[in-house]
């Protein structure tokens, strides 16, 4: 976990690789290609790259039009503008007709940092998860981000994928298997399970190390697909550990925590707690400072795991 790469970097590189093997792929951006990293694709395939300017509604509508013509559009902007400003276009012009559009949103979550609350999407997973037909992905590291790009190109239908701005530890080896809808048990454990998504997987692994020193053995699951959620791996974890903590860089309302709670309440209710932002907006600051202030660090997760174990 020493090597650190932002998932948006991996996304940009993967797009170029994908573009070489799949001629149907087109990429659209809204004047953020240097930040979303789609600029690499533009350099390699200028004819298949379309800058739509600062106009996210038309960005999504145009992508939908491409999809009706058998193209596979990858559409990028910041998570805030993709899931927020363009929500209804994604809902009505992409989700409803089940068009093959891949909305790849970067700069998600509080680790956007200094730009502050207006740019820190903390509700995107909730918004996108509520749209029928949408697949919602949130890769944990650079390796799984790259695999996610290829997996979503193979899948025929709308996908929302969330990538981060900040460099995060590389968790996986190159030969990892990324399957949409299949969570990954990253670490074994029987005393509790942390279900984490996105950059919180690395924090969960660190939390496991903290707890291990106290003799607590915690399972860590990377839930890279928020929808469709892997019910099987969740119910198994609930049965085998009896205590669940979710961890997401997102509001605790509507995202991973809610999705996991829905499954457990209906199938195997056990003590559970959610780590995430507590229904609040973010603010400016360095990513590490914000993670600490909003109680999203490994230490915070470890503390919550102990609380849940005590409720068993």
């Amino acid at each position: 976990m020493n090597n650190k790469i932002a998932t948006r970097e991996a996304y940009g590189k993967a797009l170029v690789e994908l573009g070489k093997v799949n001629e149907k792929v087109v990429v659209l951006d809204a004047d953020l290609s240097k930040s979303t990293k789609t600029a690499a694709f533009q350099k390699e395939f200028p004819n298949r790259f379309f800058n739509m300017g600062i106009a996210e509604q038309n960005l999504m509508g145009t992508a939908a039009g491409f999809a009706t013509s058998e193209k596979i559009p990858f559409v990028s902007t910041f998570a805030m503008f993709a899931s927020g400003r363009a929500f209804e276009i994604i809902r009505n012009s992409i989700g409803y007709p089940k068009l093959n559009v891949k909305v790849c949103a970067t700069h998600a979550g509080i680790t956007v940092g200094e730009d502050g609350a207006s740019h820190q999407a903390l509700e995107d997973l909730a918004c996108m998860r509520a749209i029928p037909n949408m697949v919602v992905l949130n890769p944990a590291d650079a390796v799984s981000a790259k695999k996610a790009v290829f997996a979503m190109a193979e899948y025929n239908g709308p996908v929302y994928a969330r990538f981060g701005r900040a460099a995060v530890p590389v968790i996986y080896d190159e030969d990892m298997n990324f399957e949409i809808g299949k969570g990954i048990e990253v670490k074994e454990g029987k005393d509790a399970a942390i279900i984490a998504t996105g950059i919180m997987v690395a924090e969960a692994i660190k939390a496991r190390e903290i707890l291990s020193k106290k003799g607590i053995e915690v399972r860590v699951i990377d839930m890279h697909t928020i929808k469709p959620i892997d019910e099987e791996i969740l119910i198994k974890a609930a049965k085998e550990t009896g205590a669940i903590v979710t961890a997401e860089e997102h509001n605790i309302i509507g995202g991973l925590g809610s999705a996991v709670a829905e499954v457990l309440v209906e199938n195997y209710p056990i003590p559970m707690k959610r780590v995430g932002t507590l229904d609040t907006f973010g603010e400016s600051g360095k990513p590490a400072e914000l993670m600490k202030k909003y109680a999203l660090t490994a230490e915070d997760i470890a503390k919550v795991v102990e609380e849940v174990i005590n409720k068993k």
């Binding site: 300017g53 509508g61 039009g65 058998e70 276009i89």
Partner: protein, 268 residues
């Protein structure tokens, strides 16, 4: 011949909206002549092969005028006219607003205003990318151009020099809450589109001759998208519906349906 098609389409609109008990007859009737020319004179489409790759595309961006699209597609033979009488019924193929997944010939699911027009930009770009001789048509309502996305799309169309895109404005002057200029003034409309880099042509949207001529002319315009401002009459063809804002979204009752069909020429 076109006149006969247009009359059949208008009758289809009346019957469908009557059967549904709700829907939008006014803005459907105003666009009937335009759709008639598009489907029976201009566009390359094949009702037997609705997904034919080389087909021209028509996007009804003013999706609430679904009855005119459905009546046209049925008249063209994409599906049976029987379907029109099930419009908006539960389980029916014909949804209140166009659904591309369920209805042959519907190119885009529309209804939320401005979005269909935006999708037509993607269709035109894709055709250019593939170097295909495909023309994309989008029909917008006059009230619809109050949506911000319309101008985002308008800017993109001229930026990308989409001369394979023809937009048509069904300019009947009325929207739900009244006259355009009372609700939200859209004028000067011609200058707005011109300043966004479009080639703009103005016609009488009920003259077949003018519609034909302007659609042909649009093919010759290079490096620019074309906007046709078609002056129309909301409710055109049914005297008591003409220029009446109340018929924007109201279905005719039994006696009104009979009266309308009689005016259009012949009963059921």
């Amino acid at each position: 011949m076109l006149k006969k098609n247009a009359t059949e389409i208008r009758k289809g609109i009346i019957k469908a909206v009557h059967a549904a008990g709700s829907g939008h007859p006014g803005g459907s009737l105003s666009a009937a002549d335009i759709l008639t020319v598009l489907y029976f004179y201009k566009m390359k489409v094949d009702p037997k092969n609705p997904k034919w790759e080389e087909r021209d595309r028509f996007v009804l961006s003013k999706g609430h005028a679904a009855p005119v699209l459905y009546a046209t597609l049925a008249e063209k033979g994409f599906f049976s006219k029987e379907e029109l009488l099930k419009l908006r019924h539960i389980g029916a193929m014909l949804q209140g607003h166009p659904d591309m997944k369920g209805t042959p010939g519907v190119e885009m699911s529309t209804g939320s205003l401005g979005q269909g027009f935006s999708c037509s930009i993607g269709m035109a770009l894709a055709a250019k990318l593939d170097k295909k001789d495909i023309r994309v048509y989008a029909l917008l309502g006059d009230g619809e151009v109050q949506e911000g996305i319309v101008w985002e799309a308008a800017m993109a169309a001229s930026h990308y020099k989409l001369d394979n895109l023809t937009a048509i404005l069904d300019f009947n002057g009325l929207q739900i809450d009244g006259k355009n200029e009372d609700v939200m003034n859209i004028h000067p409309i011609k200058e707005k589109w011109e300043s966004f880099g479009w080639h703009v042509l103005e016609i009488d949207g009920h003259s077949f001759e003018e519609i034909i001529s302007v659609l042909d002319k649009a093919d010759e315009i290079k490096d620019k998208p074309t906007m046709i401002i078609a002056k129309t009459i909301k409710g055109k063809g049914v005297s008591f519906m003409e220029n009446q804002v109340g018929w924007h979204g109201t279905a005719p009752k039994d006696d009104e349906k009979e009266k309308a069909l009689k005016e259009l020429g012949g009963a059921n």
